[in-house]
């Protein structure tokens, strides 16, 4: 199996603070990889390394190697990297513009002008994010009028419109109700046919429901990384076992 990202001996500091400690593992292609672990252990931080969003934090300092396919992410232009590695945030953050313009935002920024092309892409992306049926009559309405769950699927559609290879999701359902959460989980199950998905969650049930691989983080270290089934069935590390059986965190 191919790996999309390979993380080798990564240490990350925010100023003096040592947030990731000697992290190494690979993210397999077209699989769902989940990051679990107590909050503050560096899951989001590692996720943001994959599309270089940490570049925006001046105090952030990364050591070690993160490869996207065969190139180091540091050598890839961040704009190019971010068009290939999309991101969905914890809080749904559609722009205060129409639903259509939200989805068309990324492609337009890349210089897409043809109206028909954009239109097809928007419809296609909304369909893939299983939002189209709900919004097809009001594409011109402001996206802020949608419900939380719809907004998050819109953010996924916006991401898909970039035709990325990887979608990073940072606790995408933590701000949503159970029904909206379920819809997103179903969506992830469909999307993994086409995309590599890395999802941060601190809901272990969610990780076991939707992911193929799981990385367990604690205090900046990756304690265990393996297929989700084996991690949850027979964890090799005592700490992992404690965490997933609820004796910790």
């Amino acid at each position: 199996m191919n790996n999309v990202f390979s993380v080798k001996n990564v240490d990350l500091f925010y100023g003096e603070k040592h947030v990731l400690k000697n992290v190494s593992f690979d993210i397999p292609e077209k699989q769902v990889t989940a990051f679990i672990g107590p909050s503050g252990c560096g899951k989001s931080t590692l996720l943001r390394c994959f599309n270089r969003m940490n570049d925006l934090i001046p105090s952030c300092n990364i050591k070690g190697e993160i490869h996207f396919h065969d190139r180091s992410v540091q050598e890839i232009n961040p704009i190019e990297l971010r068009t290939r590695v999309g991101m969905v945030f914890q809080n749904p953050n559609p722009f205060p513009m129409s639903i259509f313009d939200n989805v068309a935002y990324g492609p337009r920024c890349q210089g897409m002008k043809n109206k028909k092309e954009i239109n097809d892409l928007v419809v296609d992306s909304l369909k893939k994010a299983s939002l189209y049926e709900e919004v097809k009559d009001r594409l011109k309405d402001n996206a802020l009028g949608l419900s939380g769950g719809q907004q998050q699927r819109l953010c996924i559609a916006r991401c898909i419109a970039m035709k990325p290879e990887v979608i990073l999701m940072d606790e995408p359902t933590s701000a949503l109700d159970p029904i909206a959460t379920l819809k997103i989980e179903e969506l992830i199950n469909v999307l993994k046919e086409e995309y590599t998905i890395v999802i941060v969650t601190h809901n272990m049930q969610q990780a076991s429901r939707i992911s193929d691989y799981t990385a367990f983080f604690m205090l900046g270290e990756v304690i265990e990384f393996s297929s989700t089934i084996s991690l949850f069935k027979n964890p090799k590390n005592k700490k992992t076992e404690d965490y997933i059986t609820g004796r910790f965190g």
Binding site: N51, M53, L56, P58, I79, E80, R82, T83, G86, M87, F89, N91, N93, P94, F95, P96, M97, Y105, G106, C109, Q110, L144, C155, R158, C159, M162
Partner: protein, 398 residues
């Protein structure tokens, strides 16, 4: 013990606040009582300088007209068939006003002494001087400030008008209003792009360093400098600059706009920066994560969301320009004008008041009328700003 203390402090609070409110209302009442009667569409649309005619009658007038019903302060001239009344013109001088002209009165067919054209006077004309001759050929005269009664009776002893100065209109603020609008427009054209760009730089690009903090502090300090000092800067730098570049001499609207821009830049920068700061971080992150460049993020997401804030800055600026006087006395000038040019001296509304009050006949009525206009505009602008910031706050909560 504590109760009496509380009571005392309460009493003082109420006393002082009611004192403040009473003063505020007295000022408003004073202005409205003095100005409301002068405030009219005519005041706003007419020129400051009246149109004056020098006129004479075509020949001897021998007839007698029948007197219409008069009110207490009106006087009838039997010889010329006009009713006269004491009045003050819009500039505040005492004049005699024509309030009625009989059907075949010679006043309907006077001759312009310079162009020899026939002029027909109307009610509302003011007479400031009238020279006539009588049966035996002596010249007699009456002045506007001598009163309507005297003028009417003197006129009835004559039979030819040889030289009459009559005028209409005047005292209006059209010119100063236009000059104010030009000043607002020009100032915004200069200061808005600079201010908004500076705010964008400070908020989006500038490194979070000491140096930038010092600049911020300086911007705050500039906002507190009394405007007369900016007026001085304008006089020393901008007036010569405009003299050399656009051929003004002394002050001009252009040098006023440069001066006002200097005054307003801190406000514009700060207001815009506030607006940029409240834009949710999620928008920036989302845009950058979608592969947008920083410039695209600013143009497509940040700026559109900062528009309410920028609008607030514009409205605050307009209010400030309308209310400013000290800085503009040098920069724009104090000479009231009817024809407004950007590279010439004129007055803004606020300085118009200054000019009206500093002459020989301080014109309180018109000054108060202009004050009402200024107050209403500034008040409306402030209400709109409040509404916008209320809406902004709501957005922030979201």
């Amino acid at each position: 013990m504590r109760k009496t203390k509380d009571l005392l402090s309460n009493i003082f609070t109420y006393l002082f606040s009611s004192f403040g409110i009473i003063i505020l209302f007295s000022i408003l009442i004073f202005i409205f009582r003095n100005g409301l009667s002068s405030l009219s569409w005519k005041l706003i649309t007419s020129d400051y300088y009246e149109t004056t005619y020098t006129l004479k009658t075509a020949g001897k007038e021998e007839g007698t007209f029948t007197c219409p019903t008069l009110t207490a302060d009106e006087y009838f001239s039997y010889r010329y068939g006009v009713v006269l009344k004491d009045s003050t013109n819009l500039v505040g001088e005492e004049v005699v006003e024509i309030t009625y002209i009989a059907e075949d009165s010679p006043f309907l067919s006077l001759i312009n002494t310079s162009s020899e054209e026939i002029v027909s006077l109307e009610c509302g004309f003011n007479i400031s001087k009238i020279v006539m001759s009588n049966d035996i050929g002596d010249y007699i005269y009456a002045l506007g400030r001598g009163g309507a009664s005297n003028m009417a009776s003197t006129m009835d002893t004559s039979n030819i008008i040889t030289d009459m100065v009559a005028s209409e209109g005047g005292g209006g603020i059209r010119g100063s209003l236009i000059s104010t609008l030009y000043l607002i427009l020009l100032t915004l054209i200069i200061s808005l792009p600079i201010g908004v760009l500076a705010a964008i730089y400070l908020n989006e690009y500038a490194p979070k360093k000491r140096f930038i903090e010092i600049i911020r502090g300086m911007i705050d300090m500039v906002a507190g400098i009394p405007s007369i000092i900016f007026g001085l800067v304008g006089a020393i730098i901008f007036i010569p600059f405009c003299n050399n570049t656009i051929g003004s001499s002394g002050g001009s609207i252009a040098s006023g706009a440069l001066t006002m821009s200097l005054i307003l830049l801190p406000t514009i920068i700060k207001t815009t920066e506030e607006a940029l700061k409240v834009i949710p971080k999620g928008y920036r992150d989302a845009s950058l994560a979608l592969g947008a460049s920083k410039t695209q993020t600013i143009n497509k997401v940040i700026l559109p969301n900062a528009i309410p804030g920028i609008l607030t800055a514009v409205l605050l600026s307009i209010g400030r320009i309308i209310g400013e006087s000290a800085a503009l006395i040098y920069a724009v000038g104090v000479a009231i004008k009817d024809t407004i040019k950007i590279n010439e001296k004129s007055t803004t509304l606020a300085v118009h008041i200054w000019s009206l009050m500093s002459g020989e006949n301080p014109n309180i009525a018109t000054s108060c009328a202009i004050s009402i206009i200024i107050l209403l505009v500034v008040f409306t602008l402030n209400v709109i700003v409040k509404l916008i910031s209320k809406k902004l706050n709501k957005m922030e909560v979201k």
